[in-house]
């Protein structure tokens, strides 16, 4: 690749009026700005969803607590789940995709910049629709009420008979609209990866995070579609006299479950696959070794995507499927552990024999590895369908999937924040605040989610706004709640770090981590056109080749 790509400095923007800056951000089609909009939007909802989680945890601190009414509690867990999945994790991950994919494949923008902006604003509108339900949910009465049917809105609870008013409609419409946004972005990522790579960037030379975003986008196309279809069918039921899920008129509640989970389970992998990508970028750089088994990592990712499309009904072991169906879904669910295990082994293989630097991004990745190992194993325990007959719908499951989403995805995403923040802002995040953030969050996480497994074993179902004393759940729930507050403090430290470091952080330079992928070859922050000259690559680690001309990767590939 051309050497002048790494020496280019960012051109300082001229003084703009406040209004012009705002106008620039609102009308932007630049992939980097849209990426940042996605991330800012997701972080806002991290705080909102976090507050909802804290309300849930205050209510459950002891038995027969009356901090909130059952109606409010039910809204809180519905909104917490919907918000965190659709309006926090998805936007943040799409934000990283937007920002990173073109930079990492040596492109100047996404394939369809205007579609990109359109998709973001659809997602933004979806979140606003969902939260407008707090004001307009019940229509005429003015008091408003948010959706309270749970984030799966199992039929027939979402039917007009059991969910009058408009709160469920806001839920439906917000998922429908943001789903179209997700599909738009997924198409854009696929087109960008397939068509916009710089010379020499063969598919087999792409950074793994780009590969994983390609896989994730393919899954979004497959998974979001049935969800959108189901939402439209629900609207037909509610307003046009349809009977798809209306059990009082012969509709099928189980059909909704299948529709929801054939979206819902691949969705888990939609969220975790980019997290795998972050790890596959960060661990090699901080271990000072290339990723172990690149082709196997790609194959395992594609395998996870395929197998994960066949596991959805493990959410339905208690629904009364016959023994053959239960056995099939037990098998596929266990089988998805094989490629996932391969990935964990390959990350350990990458660290093996390396010289590990324990910077904050790497700390979060090591946290991910431990927690994701445990989350995977509790997943295997529940894949044994009979065991799941006990564990399903209990707090054990709640602990398990928070282990995946918080202990896994969120940890990896924090790692990504610390890793790429210097590229985005030109300044380093504070290491000391970062370490405080990491340790506080780690302690809070384990207090909350390790302990949360136990009430599930003691028969505590999820989604209950209160519980009876004398069942051995009180102390456990108190510990869980204390942990939640420690996590909240850690999030405040993180947000403070993001803000303070933007002005006070150490100057980063182009390549603060001594990394190997293309985004580190351009200025920090990159100029609007990303690269002064389109780079040309000859291996998976173009910057390694540049830094080690005596021993380039291209010699071995």
């Amino acid at each position: 690749m051309s050497a002048n790509a790494i020496t280019i400095e960012s051109v300082p923007a001229g003084d703009q009026t406040w209004l012009a800056t705002l106008h620039g951000w609102l009308t932007t089609v630049d992939h980097k700005r849209l990426g940042l909009l996605y991330i800012a939007y997701g972080l806002m909802f991290l705080v909102v969803g976090g507050v909802e989680a804290l309300i849930i945890r205050i209510q459950l601190m002891h038995s027969h607590n009356d901090f909130v009414s059952p109606q409010v509690f039910n809204r809180m867990f519905t909104m917490h789940g919907t918000t965190m999945i659709f309006f926090m994790v998805m936007p943040v991950l799409f934000g990283f995709a937007n920002y990173l994919v073109p930079l990492m494949i040596g492109a100047r923008d996404m394939a369809f910049p205007r579609l990109n902006a359109f998709s973001f604003w659809l997602t933004a509108l979806g979140g606003l629709l969902l939260y407008f339900s707090f004001l307009g949910g019940s229509g005429l009465y003015g008091a408003g009420n948010a959706p309270d049917v749970g984030w799966w809105a199992y039929a027939p609870l979402g039917a007009k008979a059991f969910s009058p008013g408009h709160s469920t409609d806001y839920w439906t419409l917000s998922l429908l609209v943001s789903g179209f946004g997700s599909i738009g972005t997924a198409i854009n990522i696929i087109a960008t990866v397939l068509c916009m790579r710089c010379p020499g960037m063969k598919l087999g030379r792409m950074p793994l995070v780009v590969w994983l975003y390609l896989v994730m986008s393919g899954m979004v196309l497959i998974a979001i579609t049935p969800l959108s279809a189901a939402q439209i069918m629900l609207l037909i039921d509610r307003y046009l006299g349809g009977h798809f899920f209306d059990t009082q008129a012969g509709g099928s509640a189980v059909l909704w479950m299948h529709f929801f989970w054939i979206f819902g389970h691949p969705e888990v992998y939609v969220l975790v696959i980019p997290a795998f990508g972050f790890l596959s970028e960060i661990i090699p750089v901080f271990s000072r070794k290339p990723i172990f088994g690149y082709p196997v990592m790609v194959a395992a990712s594609v395998a996870i995507a395929f197998v994960s499309l066949s596991v959805w009904a493990h959410h339905m072991f208690t629904v009364g499927m016959n023994s053959y169906a239960n056995s099939f879904f037990a098998l596929t669910t266990m089988a998805v552990g094989v490629p996932t295990g391969i990935k964990i082994f390959n990350w350990i293989g990458t660290m093996w024999g390396g010289r590990i630097r324990f910077k904050v991004p790497m700390l979060f990745c090591i946290g991910f590895l431990f927690q994701f190992l445990i989350a995977g194993l509790t997943g295997i325990i529940q894949a044994a369908a009979p065991v799941d007959w006990q564990l399903s719908l209990s707090y054990f499951v709640v602990a398990h999937f928070h282990y995946v989403i918080v202990g896994g995805i969120l940890f990896a995403t924090f790692g990504a924040f610390y890793y790429w923040y210097p590229k985005v802002t030109g300044r380093m995040l504070s290491e000391s605040l970062g370490k405080l953030h990491f340790w506080l969050f780690l302690i809070g996480f384990h207090l909350t989610f390790d302990v949360m497994h136990i009430p599930g074993l003691l028969g505590m179902p999820r989604r209950i706004y209160t519980y009876e004393p004398g069942r051995g759940w009180d102390t456990l729930n108190l510990i869980v709640s204390v942990g939640a507050f420690i996590q909240a403090i850690a999030i405040l430290v993180f947000v403070a770090n993001l803000i303070i470091s933007y002005w006070k952080g150490e100057k980063a330079g182009n390549d603060p981590w001594d990394a190997w992928t293309l985004e580190w070859s351009t200025s920090s922050p990159p100029s609007a056109y990303n690269f002064a000259t389109v780079p040309v690559v000859a291996s998976r680690r173009p910057l390694w080749d540049l830094k080690h001309p005596e021993d380039p990767d291209s010699r071995y590939e």
């Binding site: 009979p386 065991v387 028969g459 069942r471």
Partner: protein
């Protein structure tokens, strides 16, 4: 069909179970018995699941120890040291043999776990219904349980009575699970795994309790506002107790002239639109059958004890006990409420 690990393995399993149970109960505060616990099975399905869960726990525990140790080792062993040379470590790109090994071993583990699970799935789900089985229809309602004993002609609510099952002469109870509104789930951790009650989708489950006594549980599938207080009590009776209970449930209500005022109020207000008292004009089916209300320890699906004060409060203001319950406040005057409560107290 049960998993029968050899005795050494079995001892290991027991130790592991003990550790887990101790961990679980240490964290839990002492209580007056009746704490549900999936590791204290008292019935064949629960016991079979318990055995399988120990087997799966051992295997996943071993995987955790092996992979976790590798992870800890590599994090400590390969940390950068100040004495390291300035150059980069050896650049290793992968190894086909190692990749093959850590693909094949997990595949074998999956096969073993799958076979063990499939066996238990079949043993529990496809168990034949013996002649001696008691059939009960359980119907989920927002937010209470209705139980029918078709052969015995009994209808009751919220507190299920089933007979003890002697392993030599099993008398298991088979539940036919229905729902009249939203989805619910029947879960008594010590007796069996949970099964959902879904409208238009009848399900079955069974249990053969080996110990008499009271077993607690509650609705496990979110069913609406008061999902939390859709509690469930299962009484496992000895054959004699069960026969006596069934006899009492079938006996007609004894009319007591002393409470005719309360009875008249009950029968001339909206109460009878939802509630049944057999042998009287009250024949509603939307709420629990009250024919033998006094035979139950709790009201409002376990949300309150069945005492005079709670009954009074429940009739006057259900929201005070169970906000969001579908029972309306009947807006009766104080003397009228007292009269209705007095009538209720004769429904033995």
């Amino acid at each position: 069909m049960r998993i029968r690990p050899n005795s050494n393995l079995r001892t290991g399993l027991r130790v592991a179970a003990l550790v887990l149970c101790v961990a679980g109960t240490l964290a839990a505060e002492p209580a007056s018995g009746g704490i549900p616990n999936i590791f204290a099975p008292q019935s064949t399905p629960a016991k079979t699941i318990f055995d399988l869960s120990l087997f799966v726990l051992i295997i996943t525990g071993l995987i955790f120890v092996v992979v976790g140790s590798l992870l800890v080792y590599s994090v400590f062993k390969f940390r950068a040291k100040p004495t390291d040379a300035a150059s980069e470590p050896a650049q290793v790109y992968g190894s086909t043999q190692i990749e093959l090994a850590w693909t094949i071993i997990p595949v074998l583990i999956v096969v073993v776990l799958f076979l063990a699970s499939a066996r238990v799935i079949h043993a529990i789900q496809d168990a034949p219904v013996p002649e001696s089985a008691l059939q009960v229809t359980a119907i989920g309602h927002q937010f209470w349980w209705e139980f029918h004993y078709p052969k015995l002609g009994i209808v009751t609510a919220n507190e299920l009575h089933i007979p003890l099952s002697d392993p030599a002469h099993p008398t298991p109870t088979f539940l036919n699970l229905l729902s009249s509104d939203t989805d619910h789930s029947f879960w008594i951790p010590e007796l069996a795994g949970k099964t959902d009650l879904i409208p238009n989708h009848p399900n079955t489950m069974w249990m053969d309790p080996h110990r008499p006594g009271l077993f607690l549980g509650q609705c496990a599938q979110y069913c609406g506002t008061q999902h939390a207080k859709m509690l469930l009590r299962v009484y496992v009776d000895t054959p004699e107790e069960f026969a006596a209970w069934a006899r009492a449930q079938k006996s007609p209500v004894v009319t007591n002239d002393g409470v005719s005022a309360g009875r008249r109020i009950f029968e001339t207000t909206a109460c009878i639109n939802c509630h049944t008292v057999q042998g009287t004009p009250a024949n509603g089916t939307f709420g629990p059958d009250l024919t033998h209300l006094m035979s139950r320890a709790t009201i409002a699906s376990g949300a309150a004890e069945n005492t005079k004060e709670k009954l009074r409060l429940w009739i006057q203001n259900p929201e005070a006990i169970k906000p969001g319950s579908l029972m309306p406040a009947m807006k009766l005057s104080d003397p009228d409420v007292d009269a209705v409560v007095a009538y209720m107290e004769t429904l033995h």
